[in-house]
Symmetry: C2
Subunit: 169 residues, 2 copies
Amino acid sequence: MTPLTQTSYVVMGLLGQAGEATPYDLKQIVAATIGNFFSIPHSQIYAEPARLAKAGYLTERRERAGRRRKHYGLTAKGRKALEEWLSTPTEELYELRDPGLLKLAFGSDPRELARTQLAGHEQKLEELQRMARLLQVADPSEGARLVAEAGIGHQKEYIRFWKKIAVRR
Amino acid sequence: MTPLTQTSYVVMGLLGQAGEATPYDLKQIVAATIGNFFSIPHSQIYAEPARLAKAGYLTERRERAGRRRKHYGLTAKGRKALEEWLSTPTEELYELRDPGLLKLAFGSDPRELARTQLAGHEQKLEELQRMARLLQVADPSEGARLVAEAGIGHQKEYIRFWKKIAVRR
DNA sequence: GAACAATGGTCCGAACCGTACCATCTAATC
DNA sequence: GATTAGATGGTACGGTTCGGACCATTGTTC
C-alpha cells in the first residue's frame, strides 16, 4: 500500500503545473515558491517521485546518456488523485515550528532575539515581494499569486511583532 | 553522541520552567501553550526525556508504586545546555506546513477552501484569546504572553486573508 | 586541458511519526 | 461493594522522514 502524504501531493501538484520534470527541477521550484509555506527537505524530493512512480501515479523516463536524469510526469491515475485532493477543502490548519518564538517563550532576552529575527524576516519579505512582482507579469495561476500575498502578509505581521519588542524600553 | 534537537530544548525548556515533571505533564503543557507555534507529536514527548536522561541532561526518578510514573528534572549539565541555547539568538526562521495554502497554490477552488479554512482559524483565534486572558492573570513569564500575542496576530492575518478571498465575486 | 563552479543525484543511520494498545486511578451508579 | 466508564498516564513498534555527507557529470574560465 502506498499512502499519499502531503509530500506526494506537492510532487504531483508541481508536475500538474510543470508537465514533465526531473526531481532537480522540482527542487528548484519548491525552493523558489511553495517552500515558503510548505517546507520539504531535498532528500524527500528525490525519494518521493520514485515511490509514486512505483505505485503508478507517475511515469518515469530515464535519459539514456550523459546524466541519465529521470523525468517524471503524471499518469491518469496520478492526475485523478491530484484532482480529487484538490477538490476537497482541508479543515486542517498549519503545522509550525518557529525556533524564535520558542526561545522567546522560554525566556531568551527578547530584544536581542528580536534584532536577529527581524533581520531574517525583513530579508524574507523582500524575497517574497520580488517573487510577487515576477508573478504579476509572468504567472498564469491565480493561486500562486494569492499564496505569495499570504506569505507577505505574515512576514509583515512578524516584522510588526518583533519590531514592537525591539524598540521597547 | 547525543545531538540536541529542537525537541530536546522544548523538553528542557519546559522543565526549566516547571521544575520536575512527568512526560504527561509536559504533554499537557505543550498542548496548551507552545504547541501552537511549535508542534511535537506526543510520542516524542515521551521518548525524548528518556533519551536526554541517558545522556545526562536530566534526572529520572521513578515512582515505586502505583502508576510508577517517571519524573524528570534538569541536571546541572542540562541547565547549562539550556542556558547556552537561550542566550544565542537564532537566525533561523520558521518551518511551516500549511495544507490550505498548498491547495490554493495548486488550483483548488479558492472560495470553498476559504470557507473551510476561515472556520478553523476563527476557532483557533478564540482559543488563543482565551489562553491569553488566562496568562494575563496567571502567568509570571513575559515570554509566554508575548508568544500568545504573536499567535493571535497571525490568526488575525490568516482571517483577513481568507476573508478577502471568501467575499470576492 | 586543468581547475572550479554549478548542476544533479544517491545513500545512510538516526530521529521521528502515527497509531494502536495497555495499565492505573477515580468516582459515579447500582 | 462490584461494575463500569472515563480520564489519566504510558509503552511499543515498524515504516517514513530527515539532514548531511558524499559522488558524478557538465559548463566555464584561464
